[in-house]
């Protein structure tokens, strides 16, 4: 089964460049299903957290205004090859996923 988080990392010196892509509908709660005409309930990632070797380096708080299949990229310093980056998200209906990547 394909994962729901994809991570690309690039290490330049001690600066890690992190790019992430999540498979998630990011439903706003105001869209109507074109077939049934019923409002599709809100379903979106609220918080995306990155921890490097257990130390949180970024917390991204999302609203429904982040695009479907969200993309988020950032950089942090103090990284070295072999570090373990843990990416995790939670959504507004109790869904969650996480992925560990080695820099």
């Amino acid at each position: 089964m394909a994962g729901k988080i994809k991570i690309k990392t690039k290490l330049t010196g001690d600066v890690a460049e992190i790019k992430s892509l999540m498979l998630h509908p990011m439903e706003t709660g105001s869209r109507k299903d074109p077939d049934t005409g019923e409002v599709v309930p809100a379903h979106y990632i609220t918080q995306l957290t990155f921890a490097n070797n257990g130390k949180v380096v970024m917390v991204a708080n999302f609203s429904t205004a982040v695009s479907k299949n969200p993309y988020f990229g950032f950089k942090f310093s103090g990284a070295s090859a072999g570090d373990t980056l843990k990416t995790s998200w939670v959504d507004n209906v109790g869904g969650a996923d996480e992925l560990e990547t080695t820099l």
Partner: protein, 279 residues
């Protein structure tokens, strides 16, 4: 790289690859390429594989940002796991094809003499399932589109190489039918494909800029931001036909397969660069 050289190389490459090619389609293709190159003299031949992004700078920047981490990567991954899945009889998709997975996309669309029709990649994949007692996919099924995304990705960098052998009158007939379809006005708006994608190419229709037909087929399937999902080439045909207020044909109908055959032939020599990301 020198533009003329690139063009000559690709024309040469294509004609070398198919010594039996007929003058008609090859003349058509050379004229097609000449038209777009004179219309957009600053655009290298290879760049036409990028569609509208070859000719619209502001859109291109947004596209490049999306290409940094394109949402179609999930489709490629999913398609790969489908490609590797084992059917109930123990066989796999790979067993249906003589070529490795990076050489399958470029074989289609092709005219198959024995069947007397154009076979697309989607049809070949469904035939494979049927031959292995598996239920064929609907032509707009996510599984099927993901498989084509994987095979397009594997084939990146290989040239489009549609063949019309001179000893296959059915192939030239299918090509001619696709060409007639492409240049015929239809629908309440009375538009031909060529009206938008040749005559008015680069101009705006409402908020959208019209993409060049040269290179139209290289990047499918595509992730459409508008839909938040993947669509295949023929689903795009269907959308265009609907946009000119004509009644769309079924996916994989003879009409769309012949149109795909013609359009892909026009892009011979360009690199396969699917799957793509489009707005």
């Amino acid at each position: 790289m020198n533009k003329t050289a690139v063009m000559l190389t690709s024309i040469l490459a294509t004609s070398l690859a198919q010594p039996a090619a007929i003058a008609g389609p090859e003349e058509d293709r050379a004229a097609f390429v000449r038209y777009f190159q004179s219309r957009f003299p600053d655009v290298e031949f290879d760049e036409f594989a990028n569609g509208i992004y070859a000719i619209d700078a502001d859109s291109r920047r947004q596209w490049l940002e999306i290409e940094e981490f394109p949402p179609y990567e999930f489709a490629i991954e999913q398609g790969e796991s489908e490609w590797q899945q084992t059917f109930a009889n123990g066989r796999t998709f790979a067993d249906c094809f003589a070529q490795p997975s990076d050489s399958i996309r470029a074989m289609y669309p092709r005219y198959e003499e024995a069947r007397g029709e154009v076979v697309t990649l989607e049809i070949a994949l469904n035939d494979c399932r049927a031959a292995n007692d598996e239920e064929p996919y609907a032509y707009d099924a996510e599984e099927l589109i993901d498989l084509t995304a994987f095979l397009a990705f594997e084939a990146r960098g290989k040239a489009v190489a549609v063949r019309i052998p001179a000893d296959q009158p059915g192939a030239i007939a299918a090509y001619e039918d696709g060409k007639r379809f492409y240049y015929s006005k239809r629908g309440q708006l009375n538009f031909a494909c060529s009206d938008c994608h040749i005559t008015s190419v680069g101009q705006r229709v409402r908020a959208d800029r019209l993409g060049p037909s040269l290179g139209h087929t290289t990047h499918f399937p595509v992730y459409r931001s508008k839909l938040g999902g993947m669509i295949g080439l023929q689903q795009r045909f269907l959308g265009c036909i609907r946009d000119v207020r004509a009644k769309p044909f079924e996916l994989q109908s003879t009409e769309y397969r012949n149109l795909e055959f013609f359009l892909a032939y026009m892009s011979n020599g360009l690199m396969i660069n699917g799957p793509g990301a489009r707005k």
